[in-house]
Symmetry: C2
Subunit: 333 residues, 2 copies
């Protein structure tokens, strides 16, 4: 039997009862497979890896070793949330690596988006490898593969145009190839969320909007600098906060801030103030192939603009990206 | 008597009748002053120089020699309008200089805004000087000085902070210092417009929104290139066209497009398409010291975005600048 094919008889998990049933079955399977061995997991804090972590913690407790690499390109408060939920609340065996300096050093002066993505991906593999080598008795590697990833791989294998390569731990050297544990690989995204909530994960973590693997790195356009990255993180947090306050956070599919590497003249406290513009992107899509912008009310736009320009060091303008996809892509690079 | 001080008894020119009275008086004065001599005028196509040109043509006909320098940084159709109105309709003695190549050559690779402004201003003086030297019998120089310019100069002379230096022909060498003819120097802007309409100038020319001396040069951010400048001109023309169609053209104080020197990824005709973003600026102000943005309806924004991204080569995104002044200035550089 092909275990990578979702059986046609499998019910869509839409309720807590169905989720609990799935969880119970997977917990048994994991316990049977893993026994008393150890499992390693790269825990990004995204929905998929978080649900896998919670599932494994339920099944094998501290036999799961989760590694969270903070590449310095996380959104505000995200690494802190991973620590709070997994270490403090779920008592997980969590290794936290603050690799901010290391990433920013590697990325210094690199402005080409493809090079940036490559460095961010490769550096992650190197750090994960270093951590894995320091551990003993690991026999399994858990991954947050979900069913759309599998469908996408099949499509790619069939020679169709690849849209974007997946961010997984596929680049590990041969002597670090473990047996895979992929407990949610037959689930669709909406099912992953239902399972996540049934496992007791916070709503905000489970319904977190999609976030690219390279994180804020592809939203801090061109060559990343620490000050501009920090401005981006703060501006993005204000956008999310204001969207949550007015109900847009639940409504809009994806929204974030982008900061290009240009400055313009402006005025703060009656003096000339050169700053970067913060660009707001807020789009809705059903298939990610096309997208429309959210018609954010001007009252909300004025409030966000006032907060970002007054609270964030280095920013003097706020712009709203009006471009649907096509002709714009959702991300800027 | 100080001829640079508006008499307290002078009535505000608000009607055609008052304008006609003013015109008749100035025509006599000009004829008396100039006699059969020649007058030179730098005709930018802005409201002030256009009204001065029309007034002088009425008074002395072909004794006025107008020089229109197209620095390649004009908005779409502007130099053409100057030729149409003055050469074709008013039968003016007009020298048209297409200095586009010369300006773009001088500006190549120059990204500093102050340097750009300086080059644009100085080059104008050089070209005007060259034209003036080729002419004989010129004894007068006409200028579109208006009363706010005089008030501003007095303020500056009193040691107050200069906001922006005026764009006039003050840089000419000593042997080219003519006697000045400044027929509208006691008028406020609204009066200049009433006089302009009474002189038969087109409404669009007389109510043209303020346009900086360096033209599109300060809206094609950073180092100007021919292709990006052309994209800016086209995008700006679309914005003006759509604003006129929906009535915003008469309502909004100043509106224009800015194109920064950055590209982002996008999609056109199902292929990857890297392009510049076009930034829309549309502000209202009463005193130019502070400004608010116009709340352009989304229906209009969608239409402008669709037209710019589909009609303009090189542009794949449209952004709306949400920043009031402060913290943004009206122009970007």
């Amino acid at each position: 039997m092909d275990t990578s094919k979702r059986p046609e008889t499998m019910k869509r998990i839409t309720t807590k009862a169905l989720a609990d049933e799935f969880i119970a079955a997977e917990v048994s399977k994991i316990q049977e497979t893993v026994g008393d061995k150890k499992v390693l997991l790269a825990l990004s804090g995204g929905v998929d890896s978080s649900v896998v972590a919670a599932l494994l913690i339920k099944a094998i407790g501290k036999q799961l070793i989760s590694v969270h690499v903070n590449h310095g390109l996380m959104r505000k408060g995200e690494s802190e949330q991973v620590i709070e939920v997994f270490k403090n609340q779920l008592n997980a065996n969590l290794i936290y690596v603050d690799a901010t300096d290391r990433y920013l050093e590697k990325l210094r002066g690199v402005s080409d988006p493809e090079r940036k993505r490559k460095i961010i991906g490769e550096e992650f593999i190197r750090i994960f490898e270093e951590e894995a080598r320091g551990l003993e008795g690991i026999e399994f590697l858990a991954q947050g593969t979900i069913y759309p990833d599998i469908l996408e791989s099949i499509k790619q294998a069939e020679g169709k145009k690849a849209v974007k390569s997946h961010h997984n731990v596929g680049g590990l050297p041969e002597d670090l190839q473990f047996a895979l544990v992929e407990p949610i690989k037959l689930l669709f995204k909406d099912e992953v969320r239902v399972v996540g909530e049934a496992l007791g994960l916070p709503h905000a973590m489970v319904y977190r909007q999609p976030f690219p693997g390279p994180g804020l790195g592809v939203r801090c356009l061109g060559a990343i600098t620490r000050d501009r990255l920090e401005a981006l993180r703060e501006a993005d947090a204000i956008l999310r906060d204001e969207f949550d306050k007015c109900g847009l956070g639940e409504k809009v599919w994806q929204y974030f801030v982008v900061i290009p590497d240009i400055k313009s003249v402006g005025v703060k406290d009656e003096s000339r103030y050169e700053g970067w513009p913060a660009i707001i992107r807020a789009v809705n899509t059903t298939d990610a192939m096309s997208a429309t912008i959210e018609e954010i009310p001007y009252t909300v736009l004025h409030k966000i603009t006032a907060r970002i320009t007054s609270e964030v060091e280095g920013i003097n303008r706020v712009l709203y990206d009006l471009t649907p996809k096509p002709t714009g892509t959702i991300e800027w690079e």
